[in-house]
């Protein structure tokens, strides 16, 4: 019998391949999976939220202080509410739906719709609108969001996503992955709401067209927003970042006018004096 040792063979126990490439392909796979799963959960949450009755949304808005007498009893809010009611009469509303307009006295160029049919309109934006038609478009656009149940959709989707991410990160025990998932999650929410904005433009333009019989003043709003966007450069207010581009919006406007058979221009209704700042 003879005993011998030889040098151990190389490359048998270790899988060959670039570890960086392996890491990158795994990471890409994980990113795609996370984005798809988050998007799926978000869409599920949005779909479920539309099943919640509007009255429950109103109760919730009251409880968290979004909705209340104290917010809507001032003159400007009342005047805007009258305009909103006139616009609401132009379309068939879902059962039990109502709008409450809140005037917000600050410089921010912003308007948004939130839970419970609440529409916030800031002085900063109101001062830049030179006709009642333009104000009506802003209101109609936000009302359209509420008619489409967009605030409930976004809230429901985000709630379910954050609940799922919380559970997942607790299960995995890795905070980093959930942070990463949060970042990608926000991106998908942003692109989703672009579509909702387009839909809100269509319905909003239609409401204004029916109320005034022409589309005058509508283009002004889109142009003012574009000008504001250009002036402020990169520091866009949040609500602008998720809105469609002005060119696309004008396209929507033309299509809608043609479909309804009404002119693009017409006599503008002046802004009621009580809506102007400086007036008490």
């Amino acid at each position: 019998m003879r005993y011998e040792n030889r040098l151990p063979p190389e490359g048998i126990n270790v899988t060959q391949g670039n570890p960086l490439l392996t890491a990158l392909s795994l990471l890409a796979g994980l990113c795609i999976t996370v984005v798809l799963v988050v998007l799926g959960i978000y869409l599920l949450g949005s779909a479920l939220a539309t099943q919640i009755p509007f009255s429950m949304e109103v109760t919730l808005a009251k409880r968290i202080g979004l909705l209340g007498e104290e917010h809507t009893s001032d003159t400007r809010s009342q005047a805007l509410q009258t305009l909103a009611n006139r616009l609401a009469a132009q379309v068939e509303l879902p059962e039990g739906m109502a709008f409450s307009v809140r005037y917000v006295d600050d410089d921010e160029v912003n308007a948004y719709a939130t839970l419970g049919g609440v529409i916030m309109l800031h002085r900063g934006l109101l001062d830049q609108l030179h006709s009642e038609n333009a104000i009506a478009l802003v209101l109609a656009h936000e009302m359209a969001h509420i008619i489409h149940r967009d605030p409930a959709r976004v809230a429901g989707g985000r709630l379910l996503v954050s609940a799922a991410l919380g559970l997942a990160s607790a299960a995995i025990g890795v905070d980093l992955l959930s942070n990463f998932a949060n970042m990608t999650g926000n991106l998908t929410v942003l692109s989703f709401s672009r579509d909702a904005e387009r839909q809100a433009d269509v319905t909003g333009v239609e409401m204004v067209g029916r109320a005034y019989g022409h589309m005058g003043g509508v283009a002004e709003v889109f142009e003012r927003l574009a000008a504001y966007e250009a002036k402020t450069g990169l520091s866009l207010p949040e609500f602008l970042a998720s809105h469609p581009e002005t060119a696309g919006r004008n396209e929507t406007l033309r299509e809608q006018a043609q479909k309804m058979g009404i002119p693009l221009d017409g006599a503008l209704t002046p802004v009621a004096p009580r809506l102007r700042s400086g007036q008490k």
Binding site: E4, P19, L20, N179
Partner: protein, 163 residues
């Protein structure tokens, strides 16, 4: 964001330093294996050969503890989702095994042993008290070293290994 940068920093450092250390470790292992090629040869068989004179048998054992760098850990974590060979751990454990066997042979050679029989390897993970994370791996190699009786005139063909 700060968390993300520190993560990226650890990842780059883990990959750069880890790769360099792994390369130099493999180089050292190959060099020492070459040096020890005729000395303290190892076998897993438990039955000892017929030996002339009065040879001594001794237990020899050696261990290594290797740490997992940040890059390897992240890659392994990603494998956690998709499965597949954790090749970053394969090379780590390959180093640990060969290093443990080498240290055992070096010890045996130092006490004058020429062969080690019944060699076994044992592995355990070190996890700093948290069973979910593995911070390092310990590898122990042990066996029965034979110190031949030189006065009895050992049969040279038994001890000879080809160079």
């Amino acid at each position: 964001m700060w968390e993300f940068y520190s993560f990226l920093f650890l990842l780059v450092v883990g990959y750069g330093v880890g790769t360099y250390l792994e390369r130099s470790h493999f180089a050292s292992i190959r060099r020492r294996e070459q040096e020890l090629i005729n000395k303290a040869i190892v076998f897993t068989v438990r039955d000892l050969p017929e030996l002339p004179g009065n040879p001594q048998l001794r237990l020899v054992a050696a261990g290594t503890v290797v740490s997992i760098d940040y890059f390897k850990r992240i890659v392994a974590m990603l494998h956690h989702f998709f499965g597949g060979n954790i090749s970053s751990y394969e090379s780590l454990l390959e180093r640990a095994r060969r290093e443990a066997i080498l240290r055992m042979r070096e010890k045996a050679h130092a006490i004058g042993a020429t062969m080690i029989f019944g060699v076994r390897l044992e592995t355990s993970a070190i996890n700093d008290g948290n069973p979910k994370t593995t911070t390092g791996v310990e590898l122990i190699a042990y066996g029965t070293a034979i110190i031949p009786d030189h006065t009895a005139g050992a049969t040279p063909q038994l001890w000879h290994t080809p160079a």
